[in-house]
Symmetry: C2
Subunit: 363 residues, 2 copies
């Protein structure tokens, strides 16, 4: 993550991961989730915070979920049903359940099919936000499988290349592949220039937007460094056409096709408007053994990833990393030292603790 | 394609597609390919030229292939063998055959598996250049399937984010999804800022590079508009880290993992150096019927794609397109009016015709 998204030192409160996990689980239980689902939902958010992806951890997301449960926009006890199935594919009705605990069940089905047949993929319709995609894509790693996740729906924030209207959500993709001794390759990105949650994070810590991150409401890219205006669209990654925004737009469209459209919901742009978050998801597990010996694969991955991280940096740069490496390093640091939250986030936990009459202790 | 890559009008020679197809087939036959493989190889190149992707058509590629056949770097009559297989996966030894005709056979296997089980994927090792990826990804469309293709290997041209060394080829991805009345969605991109072939095309027509398309040999992005220097690295899409080059780098790494590594060749950075082009490939076919009724899917795709192309353009822009739409329009124009080639390309065909004692007529 870029430096500008880090919580400034003066505003940091360090919290032990297990304490935040317990508090988050208690909140999800109070929202009506079963104890098992609450534990899973909390784990997804805390995995994000431990990896340094606080944009998708408890800071931004939890209060939104609590509000949606309060407004009865999320079903805390969804009845998941497979609506269509083949040897290696399935479509799952999410029954308006939160993606945090619905999608791991979809990925488990995909893993099971991949184990039996070599590959498995599951779409989920009628679901809600899934948190950090990397969590789901990493699930197959321990079975020597590659994991793929994408998700799309509503609300809309991204303007297609040369358009003036918001027609996509941030439509992220995540891929994970195992290694032996190196940290696994875990690549998780929005197809916008920045994740929507990171804009909110930047707003909270007063960080500016870069040129070509957002457009005005006529779709014209804003090419100077700026603070977040009241109304704007987020550009696809690439920013301008000359810098390849058609690539961000294309990967966003593929997310739309693989998740809501392939799951039978139709594109997010035709769904009910903000603030109701409706999403379709797609997960895939690829069994390495269906192609080559997994031991050879993991040895080749080690050699590949090591070569990347030990390559000579560009003039002025300190090091070269690969996707998943800084996050794995951050997990070690944060498990040891605690997770740094913005004091405003801790304040929210204190207020929700009082409101919901919970008894966790964060610090 | 950006305007700058079009052949200037004064240098254009219009050629009927069927004439160029016959000439190209004759050249491939002279290189030792069977009549069937030569027809297929020619079709892949001409599909590219018809779609307006001349970077991957006969102009740049054919002379390279001819040279490689002459240097015995490509096996004209490869003995394709499946080295590992499950219900839905396979790994194919390409026996150093040209990807143009090897990869369609891999995709046929993937389609057959998808038809039986819901999904199929095939890796190919020990192969050569596959031309325009879109050709392969479009093969499953007529069976109501989604097609996915990626490829990676050697020679190297792309520098990872913050690195100073070229460690990737242009590592492209292509996705195709069918619609009913709208042109299908066909998204085919290099994970570099520009395809390597487009740089050569731009060089021929004297077009400049944009800022952040390439770096100097220390890995520092060149931020002014410039003509192609003698020595340079191509940046991942995004260009600079602030503009998201880690996304291009990540998709490039995933191509490396899914194609050469998963096919058992190891990463392209460890292969023998330029000019020997060695590549691993990955193709996947996804049967829509495994998730939802394909009729519903195609109706939803029509609605989605029409909404994109009829959305209000940004101030100053004429229209909004989606990936595959301009290419489908170009096919209609070029089938009617002929394909515009640079006169230098026609000159090459005349010289190779004399050299190989062929008797085609282009104009």
């Amino acid at each position: 993550m870029l430096e500008r998204f880090l919580v400034p030192e003066k505003d940091r409160v360090l919290v032990r991961p297990e304490r935040m996990l317990a508090a988050t689980k208690a909140i999800f239980e109070k929202c009506g989730q079963s104890s098992t689902d609450a534990a899973l939902s909390a784990e997804v958010l805390l995995t994000s915070d431990l990896r340094g992806c606080e944009s998708h951890g408890v800071s931004n997301q939890l209060r939104v979920y609590v509000q949606m449960y309060g407004d009865q926009e999320i079903n805390p006890v969804p009845n998941l049903q497979i609506t269509r199935e083949t040897d290696v594919t399935a479509n799952l009705d999410g029954d308006t359940g939160l993606g945090l605990h619905v999608l791991p069940k979809a990925m488990e089905i995909a893993i099971d099919k991949a184990d039996k047949h070599g590959m498995g993929a599951v779409t989920v319709h009628n679901s809600r936000h899934i948190g950090m995609l990397a969590y789901h894509s990493m699930m197959p790693l321990k079975y020597d499988m590659i994991g793929i996740t994408t998700s799309a729906g509503n609300p809309l924030s991204m303007v297609p290349t040369h358009a003036s209207e918001k027609l996509f959500a941030t439509n992220p993709w995540a891929w994970a592949a195992p290694a032996r001794s190196e940290a696994p390759f875990v690549f998780d990105v929005a197809t916008t220039q920045v994740a929507g949650n990171k804009l909110r994070l930047a707003e909270r810590i007063g960080a500016p937007m870069d040129p070509a991150w957002i457009s005005d409401t006529d779709g014209v890219p804003i090419m100077n460094e700026t603070h977040l205006p009241d109304d704007y669209h987020i550009l696809p990654f690439g920013g301008t056409r000359e810098q390849g925004s058609h690539k961000g737009y294309g990967f966003a469209a593929m997310a739309e096709i693989m998740a809501p459209i392939l799951s039978g919901m139709g594109a997010g742009m035709f769904m009910a408007p903000v603030p109701r978050t409706i999403m379709g998801h797609y997960v895939q597990a690829v069994k390495i053994d269906g192609f080559i010996d997994p031991n050879q694969f993991k040895d080749d991955m080690d050699r590949f990833l090591k070569r990347l991280r030990t390559s000579k940096p560009a003039s002025g740069e300190k090091r070269v990393v690969y996707a998943g490496l800084p996050e794995a390093e951050e997990v070690e640091i944060r498990q040891r030292e605690g997770i740094p939250y913005h004091k405003e986030v801790i304040g929210w936990f204190e207020s929700i603790k009082a409101e919901l009459q919970l008894d966790f202790e964060l610090v």
